[in-house]
Symmetry: D3
Subunit: 164 residues, 6 copies
């Protein structure tokens, strides 16, 4: 069985993430969506909320045992070893992604040569999408229905109203 990690902050999960995940599931038997603790940034959603949103959106794949969702705060390659994952999935949209991702992939390769970073490209319709821009559009009153699943849209609106 081939298992891969799909790490990210997922604050919140977007249709771009789901596109990558759907494709990763065609390549691997199981994907561990790995929600990163990021001590430098304060996320809009707490770790628990981010995990719950992903679990809700992916409940079908979780029921099938194709997807697991876990939070993690240590060295990613330690988690990959612990989960017996052979690969780390990353989405690549832009040149600026590319350089940072190349740096991380080379560092992770140095730290754990047996774990392979695999880059997938999202559909061009998601090429400009990330969690930051979605939160910004929602905060300014724009409609985000095209960019996130309905549960995430609802959670975004609730969260942003609460913080007004």
């Amino acid at each position: 069985m081939k298992r891969a990690l799909y790490p990210g902050t997922f604050d919140p999960i977007t249709n771009g993430h789901l596109d990558i995940l759907k494709r990763a599931l065609q390549l691997f038997d199981q994907i561990v969506v790995t929600v990163a603790v990021n001590p430098k940034k304060t996320p809009l959603f707490s770790m628990e909320e981010r995990i719950e949103l992903i679990q809700d959106v992916l409940k079908h794949e979780i029921g099938n045992n194709r997807v697991e969702v876990e939070g993690f705060g240590g060295l990613l390659i330690d988690f990959a070893r612990k989960k017996k994952a052979c690969a780390i999935i990353r989405g690549l949209r832009a040149v600026s992604d590319f350089e940072y991702e190349l740096q991380m992939a080379l560092m992770n390769r140095r730290l754990a040569d047996e774990v392979i970073t695999v880059f997938l490209m999202p559909h061009e319709n998601y090429s400009y999408l990330n969690s930051t821009i979605v939160k910004e559009v929602a905060r300014l009153g724009g409609d985000v229905s095209d960019f996130v699943p309905p549960q995430v849209k609802e959670a975004l609106l609730k969260k942003l109203n609460a913080s007004d």
Copy 2:
């Protein structure tokens, strides 16, 4: 069984290609090294020579039925469907690679949504390596032992002497 294509011109195969291939073999059950006919460029090595060099270098993996080597001149996604491959492997070294590869990946996705382009990054020691620069160094009398397998080095020297 998960099979992937690894397409390229391979004129000739380098240690950078082999690094990508080795990693692809950790992810997939079988890799079809797909040697491209490129009607616009005149390769240094003929299609037959390129295939023979790869077969020689990879004879162990071919013996194990982990690797096949084939030449192909049509639409890559037609070949992927014919070979029942779920993925196309591409190496990514540099930003200039990235943009071209993104374009091809999106076009291939449009033409055949079920075939997934998978990008892997070579070891940093091969980040500056490609077939063109290896041929140029060999042509100018530089030592290419660090960049290609011994059989390829020998074939390069023979070919370049013959063309003097």
Copy 3:
């Protein structure tokens, strides 16, 4: 009245070009589609064929006097002055486009400060599209219906069959 040039090789015109043109027509009163003689490349379609295809595709806008189509082989800014155009329209899809375009825009600005290069971005669905990739897909037997207007598809198939 504000007039702009939209220069290119248009070998052949694609849906990406038409997307840029449609947007340029919202900004300017008249667009002169300027088909470039390129002495370094041999186009698939002759200058006359390229102009005729564009005229066919844009016959409605030409009828309205919103679009003109002309071939030109000299210094672009001389043509801009002759046509009393205040702007040159260019599409920008990728970083590699960007650098070349920046160079040309700065050179043209030096040569004729009063002519302004205006960059527009095509819809993301055309981000991977250019004439070269369309010709390649058509040549290899792929379906190009999503990428070019019907007349251009027909002309491509006729041209490619003739050259077999």
Copy 4:
């Protein structure tokens, strides 16, 4: 009448901004300089100070009714619709600009297809100029006379002395 927005933080306005604006005025009948509220960054100059500096520098164009200056904090395309602007002007200097700008242009196109993002390139003499680097040079005692109008230089020195 064709009107365009020219949005930015303008903290403070530089000669690079003025170069873009001068060129935009050759293309459009009226430009609305749209000073952005940026809730994430604390600007050196308050919204009022930034607007006053721009009004002072552009008083001639404002007198001619060619330029308006307004502050705005919502979704940019809502403001474009309210002002009946057909275009959003952005300056492009560098690849890193390009990717971010492409993302915003595609998002804005999705949110309001009728508003067109128009990219202009500043003169090469301003290619390395932005408000951040100007503030940094001024803070460290360097001469900024070549980079900003005299009123802005004076305001910068006053502000920086006050904060010592």
Copy 5:
């Protein structure tokens, strides 16, 4: 005698910095490692600690009078003039470095035409290395022996334990 500045935050110095420095010493008679005060970022190591670590690592070159280490917080070109340095050394690893560095080099050239920014490229084995990623790996319990000198590794571990 030709003297050059090698400015940076050095929080802490890495093997990538040392690789650049070693090469700079082949070009120049003396290098002034210039440790920057950065008022916007809070470094992990204080200015004194950063200087002491560099002095420890480079004690041989300092003994030979080939290297000096100084802290500085003003305009870099003022410091270059004060130290009679003809050049500023910068390492270039990635496209994102490149654009920022180009901007700074052009600004410094405008401010002091006689001081030349010289770019050197680190060995490919350090292409993914910077102080931030080293601190992150150390913080998460990864081994940083390959990335920094032993004294720096020890100081990192001590500092990170103290902040737990």
Copy 6:
């Protein structure tokens, strides 16, 4: 004495090359302008013509023994060793330059670790200038006085008239 190579095709030498050379002369005692044989491209000017133009433009520096001009067709690092050069000078203008140059610098470092590639940035006024664009502008009848020395302008016009 520190000597550096400044390699290039110089077909023909431009003001951008001269700007880099002038700065290189502030860093090194002697510069060997190394005119490359490029077997893949047919230059407009022959090797002899390119060398003569450079010698004419730089006769003062050659008289001072600060500059030598030589043609060369082999491996650049072999030439560097033969000339006892410690460095190879390269100009960097754009991201696309950067990636190619990084590749060559890393390859040359692998082949000859003691020869250091040194990158300098031309003045922003030459950021869009290269020999190809200058030849194109001249061929189309544009004025190239701002881009090349007078002798080169004259040679260009003579050459282009001869080829009509």
